[in-house]
């Protein structure tokens, strides 16, 4: 390879490596808990029903640096859905498509939720089940969004659901910083090898 090209590629490689190191460092910085934003609640879910949770803090608008942590405990297998839209939209959709007594209550028949999800397939930002009675997750949005937390009880017995959470402030969510770094570091190293090699040879000749 031409020496000028080798230098160009090598320097591009070292710049990529430097960017990768910065991203790895950023990924090591943990999220900060926003003060006085703890929330918790308890819900009794009848068989084959779901409930829309209405914590004050979850009605906030979330952005790429503001997310939250939620831990859910239940005595039955409960499915937790996090929707990337405000609960007003969910209620509005249910009101438009179902009878009044289904939409006026914060808990409703599971078929309503299934219908909503099949008609809004891109609305689920996160989904999980209470395995061993517990599920917890940390969510950092990739855009400006309102969220809705939904618990659904698919079993034929009543489920008692307890949840708690807190709002988090990220410099950058760890996973999102680490993913590009995983590419930047090795790619940068590969690009830099010929240049580093020739630089080493030149230093040896010089000495």
């Amino acid at each position: 390879m031409n020496r000028r090209w080798s230098t160009f590629m090598g320097r591009a490689g070292t710049i990529l490596m430097a960017a990768g190191i910065a991203l790895v460092m950023l990924s090591l910085i943990p999220a900060r808990t926003e003060e006085n934003t703890d929330f918790e609640g308890t819900t009794l879910l009848q068989p084959k029903t779901f409930s829309v949770e209405s914590s004050f803090f979850l009605s906030f608008m979330f952005d790429p640096q503001r997310g939250f942590y939620v831990s859910v405990q239940a005595n039955r297998s409960v499915t937790v859905y996090l929707l990337n839209m405000g609960k007003e939209y969910v209620y509005e959709w249910i009101t438009d498509h179902f009878s009044e007594n289904q939409s006026s209550s914060s808990t409703a028949n599971l078929t309503v939720l299934e219908s909503f999800l099949s008609n809004n397939p891109n609305s689920v930002a996160w989904q999980g089940n209470t395995i061993d009675g517990k599920v917890e997750f940390q969510y950092a949005p990739t855009k400006l969004m309102n969220v809705t937390l939904i618990f659904s009880n698919p079993s034929i017995e009543t489920a008692k659901v307890k949840y708690n959470g807190k709002l988090l402030h990220f410099i950058v969510p760890s996973e999102r910083a680490l993913n590009p770094a995983k590419f930047a570091l090795p790619l940068g190293f590969v690009l830099a090898i010929p240049w580093l090699n020739s630089a080493r040879k030149r230093t040896r000749v010089g000495t």
Binding site: T14, I15, P64, R66, P180
Partner: protein, 267 residues
């Protein structure tokens, strides 16, 4: 010898001088780190905010310190590159190349400006995409408009410093004046906003936007978000006109620099 070869020769030697190892590596590291660390998107609560405005707000927040670093880098590249060549007389060696003077200056400007701006934009857009991929990808026009507008002042200051370096033939004094320009620009934004509010007229804002069109773009997005009840609500085409005027002014300063370098500079 092909005409491109000496040009590349000068460009390569300028790049080598401006970006010695590990300066660009350290800059990429700093640009990325400072973009994230100093960014702050808070304060929207549960109020409705348009995606367009938020992307613009996010870009403003991300580029605070990196823009300062970019301006300092531009000033340093111009004054230590061209300034040192003039001061030490090495420009005479460069003039010995079979190349017209305007091509020599183009190579120097490409090294001082383009490489730094590419590094800056590369890290900024990566940072934006890492943070909010679902907002940046659908709004490329906002990203483009915001960066073109915000960079105009930096390039204007760089061009002024280039002209001063050529006239004074000394980098040390030109860099001081360049830094003063940068701080003057930072102060002026607040000053004209205050003045416009005091006299209840957008005229100071409009006049200043001719030099720094990022102000017009700021007001364009603010008026989109908060309605036309702001002091000045320029339309997109009006904001683009201010941007054209800003870049036109920069181009005329660069033209003067070329004219001086090609016709008036005696070494």
């Amino acid at each position: 010898m092909a005409r491109g070869k000496p040009f590349l020769e000068i460009l390569a030697s300028s790049l080598h001088g401006d970006y010695k190892f590990p300066i660009p590596e350290f800059l990429a590291f700093l640009f990325l780190l400072s973009s994230f660390v100093f960014a702050s998107f808070g304060g929207f609560g549960s109020t409705g905010v348009t995606e367009e405005y938020f992307v613009f707000f996010m870009i403003n927040s991300l580029m605070g310190l990196p823009l300062f670093i970019l301006v300092m880098l531009l000033l340093r590249n111009i004054t230590s590159g061209i300034g040192n060549d003039l001061e030490k007389g090495t420009i005479q060696t460069i003039f010995a190349y079979p190349l017209r003077r305007h091509s020599i200056l183009t190579a120097k400007i490409c090294s001082a400006f383009a490489a730094a701006v590419i590094l800056f934009l590369g890290t900024q857009i990566s940072a934006l995409y890492i943070l909010a991929p679902d907002m940046v990808a659908p709004n490329p026009s906002v990203v483009l408009l915001a960066y073109v507008a915000k960079l105009s002042a930096a390039i204007f200051i760089g061009s002024m410093t280039l002209l001063l370096t050529l006239i004074l033939r000394r980098g040390s004094l030109a860099i001081v004046i360049g830094i003063l320009f940068f701080f003057l620009f930072s102060i002026m934004t607040s000053l004209v906003s205050f003045l416009a509010q005091a006299i209840s007229s957008p005229l100071p804002l409009q006049l200043y936007s001719l030099i720094d069109p990022s102000l017009a773009i700021d007001f364009y997005y603010s008026s989109l978000q908060f309605g036309v009840h702001t002091l000045w609500a320029p339309s997109l085409s009006e904001a683009l006109l201010y941007m054209g005027a800003g870049y036109g002014l920069t181009a005329s300063i660069l033209f003067l620099s070329y004219f001086y370098f090609c016709r008036r500079l005696n070494v």
